[in-house]
Symmetry: C2
Subunit: 243 residues, 2 copies
């Protein structure tokens, strides 16, 4: 991991850009940390530049409660090399959505499974690098979207102790089996009136999770309208499990 | 309203028994209140003696955040006169549950509709009496079970500004129409693995609520296993809307 930029935000949070091999990422650490801070990995749908305003807001909110937060670019997104297969799957998804058609399982598989296969080892490598920094201490959590990445991390990565997952309907059917293997505490956010999201799939997935400590928070407000108080609830969830 | 008993609990909360006509009730007020406290009405399934341990725990938790809490006995429960029709409906319900049969809408109607008709005016009379006390200030909230009572109160009682409802499946179909008329902020608690509760009915009811400010919290732990952190979440919900 190589730091490429550093700035102090007005609330004292230290924001550092880094690269991990060819993968760009961002690390935020609390301004006033006496002990190593527990780490929250911030998931997102890809495109760090576009997602930056929302990511930095989430990171600052977490830092105010003493958490470090970090994210990396997804494969085939942002400034990273494109994949023809991923582009084609995205185009097929877009076509189905624009036509108002149900999205074939086959499209979801082509879109999500290779992404999970490639992204999860990268997030684990980022975890290796981040947890070796003296200002960061375990355990770690995962918060955010591409719920399939969160599920796989929760199953294969023992250093992820809790996950706050944003419900999304593009979940390959095989991931439901993986969901049954999740045993860490989960909080799942569902936007009840998100028209681009299949509510029943989200509820079925919540039902499938094997952990006994799972909580579903459903709210109104559309796809991007997660109420502000869920940020506080998320911090409390991680405080219960990472501190 | 006539106070019939008074004791100071070890955390300073003042607990007073009262009667409102023939109806017994309990009022809890915070130990150190400088201003009039907002009031939370504590709903329950009937039987104040039996429910007391859980009610006092909820009241103390609310009082710690500056809320007064109060409850009254339900019609035909506890020390109040019985109703032959209500006893028969309860027996029919018990028989259906013990036989593992689905509960007829007709039984639910006979059980719940007369209860709502009789209880809601009593809760409103209690609200009249309680809000006239100098130590209590509006607005008020309703928290708890017999969700049908909570729905009716939310629709007809303008002094109820927010409600935290415990999902239950014994909701008359006509109450779904009333649910559409609810416009106050709601938080709905659902025990996901509550075998005595029809999950789909609870989800359908949550969907039906007309308010834009509705949040569903689903947890594991069985019928009585609501996680402790939901008490804090409930306080924060009421703090957002009653303070």
């Amino acid at each position: 991991m190589r730091f490429t930029s550093e700035q102090r935000l007005d609330d004292g949070v230290l924001e550092r850009g880094f690269t991990l091999g060819e993968i760009p990422g961002i690390l935020w650490t609390p301004g006033s940390a006496s002990a190593p801070a527990p780490l929250i990995l911030l998931g997102h749908p890809g495109g760090l530049h576009k997602m930056y305003p929302r990511l930095v807001a989430r990171a600052r909110h977490s830092a105010a409660e003493g958490f470090a937060a970090a994210t990396i670019e997804l494969p085939w997104s942002g400034d990273r090399p494109r994949s023809a297969a991923a582009e084609e799957a995205r185009a097929d998804l877009r076509r189905a959505l624009e036509a108002g058609e149900p999205v074939d399982d086959e499209i979801v598989d082509r879109l999500v499974l290779p992404l999970v296969e490639k992204a999860v080892p990268e997030w684990r490598a980022a975890l290796d690098a981040l947890l070796s920094l003296p200002e960061i201490g375990g355990p770690a959590g995962y918060a955010g979207g591409v719920i399939a990445i969160g599920i796989r991390l929760a199953v294969v990565e023992p250093r992820i102790s809790a996950a706050l997952l944003f419900a999304g309907s593009f979940v390959p059917r095989t991931m439901f089996e993986e969901a049954r293997q999740v045993t860490i505490p989960l909080q799942v956010l569902l936007q009840w009136d998100d028209e681009g999201n299949d509510r029943q799939t989200a509820l079925d997935l919540f039902d499938a999770f094997g952990t006994k400590e799972k909580t579903l928070h459903a709210n109104m407000g559309g796809h991007t309208g997660v109420p502000q108080f869920e940020g506080d609830d998320g911090n409390r969830f991680f405080a219960r499990h990472l501190k």
